[in-house]
């Protein structure tokens, strides 16, 4: 059967807030039972280093899903449980990570990235991170910025363009 032609993407534009960020939006913390809470904060920045005030990011791991809008300075923050290692395929494990999608006015298709953690030793051997040019891997690793609080705090900026540009992925079907 010949494939049906896929539907193209379009930008979320500037007016998505009432819909995508409604108070009773569909999120889930179902995968978060019993885990260790972590807190992540950062900024979405454009090619001029300016905060992107009309972006929305989606964060997901295991069965936990959340949507967060950026503030007037492009900042965002969220809490979740520390993700566990997940399988890449039989016998190969990935380092703990959060899957991230970035939507904004001016993005004609959402961008996909991942948050790894600097205090997680398995990141060094992660099979996806190893496919990233070495000099750019640090853009995918959240820095631990506070130890004194009970909830570990990480910093992760999303640089859309320019110096320190975050690595964005194009996930392709696995070869047969």
């Amino acid at each position: 059967m010949s494939p049906l032609p896929a539907t193209p993407s379009q930008t979320v534009g500037p007016f998505f807030h009432d819909c995508l960020l409604r108070v009773d939006r569909c999120e889930s913390t179902a995968g978060d039972e019993g885990g260790v809470q972590i807190h992540v904060e950062g900024c979405v920045l454009d090619g001029d280093g300016a905060g992107v005030p009309d972006a929305v990011i989606e964060v997901w791991h295991s069965a936990s899903f959340a949507r967060i809008g950026t503030d007037a300075e492009g900042g965002f923050s969220f809490s979740t449980t520390r993700p566990k290692r997940v399988e890449l395929d039989r016998g190969t494990m990935q380092a703990p990570h959060l899957s991230i999608a970035v939507f904004a006015r001016g993005l004609m298709n959402h961008l996909l990235t991942r948050i790894y953690f600097e205090d997680e030793s398995s990141s060094e051997s992660d099979p996806i991170l190893r496919l990233v040019p070495e000099a750019r891997r640090t853009t995918l690793i959240a820095r631990r910025v506070a130890d004194e609080s009970l909830t570990p705090l990480y910093r992760f900026d999303i640089v859309l363009q320019g110096a320190g540009e975050t690595v964005f992925f194009d996930f392709r079907s696995p070869a047969r």
Binding site: Q10, T11, F171
Partner: protein, 242 residues
């Protein structure tokens, strides 16, 4: 439309727009400039975010009355329906569809939309529903108006409805816009034009007289085809590896 078009595209370049499309000015400082890193899909992308769907009600799909005022939105009442499918034509049930749009006068209820088009107190312009077992969705709303924006001199967006599709596979996430045929503004719109020529018409709904209800509402049909493999691809790979 003369414009600088970037080479960075996520997914099939015959389908998806490039991140840099200069005529749409907001892309210029927000498009990544370094190549995307191609990596294989893993369980992280092929499984579904589990959602709490307890808030989704039937009323959410009726934008003409879901403002909670007891009144009805002004404008041409329309039914918008279609199927969400994968590229093999298999329906995608249980997908969360969220829509937002301007009112019949082309005005959004949004603090950043301040052009002098009238607001409608009975229209919020937001809706959502889940696809049925046959992958079908259906919204009752009013036909949105065109609205002006600041992209270039005398710029107007063609009438459109924003669609967000959250399918049972992260890799099939899609946000897009549905347009109406025979809209003269389509030819002038850089956002619509950023889509490759051959794929552009897929964003345009078709008038459907079989959906139109006598003395009630006009019908439009628009199917959504999600690119890429779903969760079953991961399961099949796991089985073949076993």
């Amino acid at each position: 439309m003369i414009t600088t078009i970037g080479e960075i595209v996520r997914g099939d370049a015959a389908v998806f727009p490039p991140y840099l499309y200069e005529a749409y000015r907001s892309t210029v400082r927000r498009a990544p400039r370094l190549p995307l890193v191609e990596v294989p899909l893993t369980a992280s992308e092929l499984t579904r975010p589990r959602l709490d769907l307890s808030h989704v009600t039937a009323e959410d799909a009726d934008l003409t009355r879901n403002a909670g005022t007891g009144g009805e939105a002004l404008g041409q009442r329309i039914l918008v329906t279609g199927r969400v499918m994968d590229e093999g034509g298999t329906p995608v049930p249980g997908a969360l569809l969220e829509v937002w749009q301007a009112n019949a006068a082309g005005r959004y209820i949004h603090k950043r939309d301040d052009w002098p088009g009238p607001l409608d107190p009975n229209f919020l312009g937001i809706g959502r529903c889940l696809t049925t077992d046959a992958g079908e969705y259906r919204f009752l709303t009013v036909r949105p108006g065109a609205y002006p924006w600041g992209n270039h001199e005398n710029a107007w967006r063609p009438a459109h409805i924003h669609f967000s599709v959250l399918a049972p596979s992260w890799s099939r996430r899609l946000v897009t816009q549905m347009y109406f045929p025979d809209d003269p503004l389509l030819e002038l719109d850089p956002i619509h034009h950023a889509v490759p020529d051959a794929a552009r018409s897929r964003l345009v709904a078709a008038y459907a007289h079989d959906v139109t209800q006598p003395h009630w509402a006009l019908g439009w049909r628009w199917d959504i085809v999600l690119a890429g493999p779903g969760a079953t691809a991961f399961e099949a790979r796991e089985q073949s590896a076993a």
